[in-house]
């Protein structure tokens, strides 16, 4: 099933917009990268944009044409750790699929 999440993350003094299983596109500023990701997500039938911080942690999230995810009824005492873990694991996979896509093209 096609992924609908566009990740925005910092990389080598630039910001990258990338979907899992696809190659990324670099932008010189975070603002430009977020705008580009929103534009792509809006142009699809449904999509979402997630912005990662330096440590992979999820900092922002927006949905387009799909239901926004509600917050849990209470804040977990481990919320920061969970957010960092989920963001880091998702980002690692996104970067790994990009590398494997490049390798398979060679």
């Amino acid at each position: 099933m096609t992924r609908k999440t566009f990740h925005v993350y910092p990389s080598d003094k630039a910001w990258v917009v990338q979907k899992e299983g696809a190659s990324g596109k670099k932008f010189s500023t975070q603002r430009q990268a977020i705008e580009a990701a929103r534009e792509i997500a809006r142009s699809q039938a449904s999509g979402q944009v997630v912005v990662h911080g330096q440590n992979g942690q999820i900092r922002e999230h927006a949905t387009y044409g799909m239901p926004p995810i509600q917050d849990p009824p209470k804040k977990s005492s481990a919320a920061k750790r969970i957010r960092r873990a989920v963001g880091t694991v998702a980002l690692k996979r996104v970067k790994a699929t990009s590398t494997s896509a490049r390798l398979s093209k060679k």
Binding site: M1, I69, P72, V86, A90
Partner: protein
Amino acid sequence: MFAVYDLGFKARCALEDDDAGEVRLAKIERIIEECRFGINDLSAVELDAVTGLPRFNMPLELGMFFGCKRFGPANQKKKRTLVLDREPYRYRQFISDIAGQDIRAHDGNPERAIREVRDWLQATSKRSGLPGGGEIIENCRRFQTDLPTLCAVAGLEPDRLTFIDLATMITDWLRSNR
């Protein structure tokens, strides 16, 4: 719980609050009052192996939900309930008075339960743009695969996650993996 969040709704449960000062029944009353949609799974109504008596919390909560809708103020009249059970018509053997309500069977199959919940919530809420059952099931499988890794990175034990920790894990995962 995963399907409810993937569909853009908020799952509530008496376990969401670890405030030991509030009586469990009061927590349930408050949550029922605050929710428009209720999903009651009666499949857990089995005889206790030790006492030989049934655990009847779920039917009790279902009755409270019906009562709130029937006798509550105008805003409570919009309440809607989905009743799930393992087998069709099994409820007739222990709670026959609810015949005529929206009762569906899932055969003890979590994927079928997800489809039932998804179809009911879409039809009842009339919201558009909800993901299909197959998409939710695939997301749920991927989440379950990721869960041990997520817990290890977050320093949590998968078997000891609280309701709120699990809800936080699900919502963050959905925001970055759909």
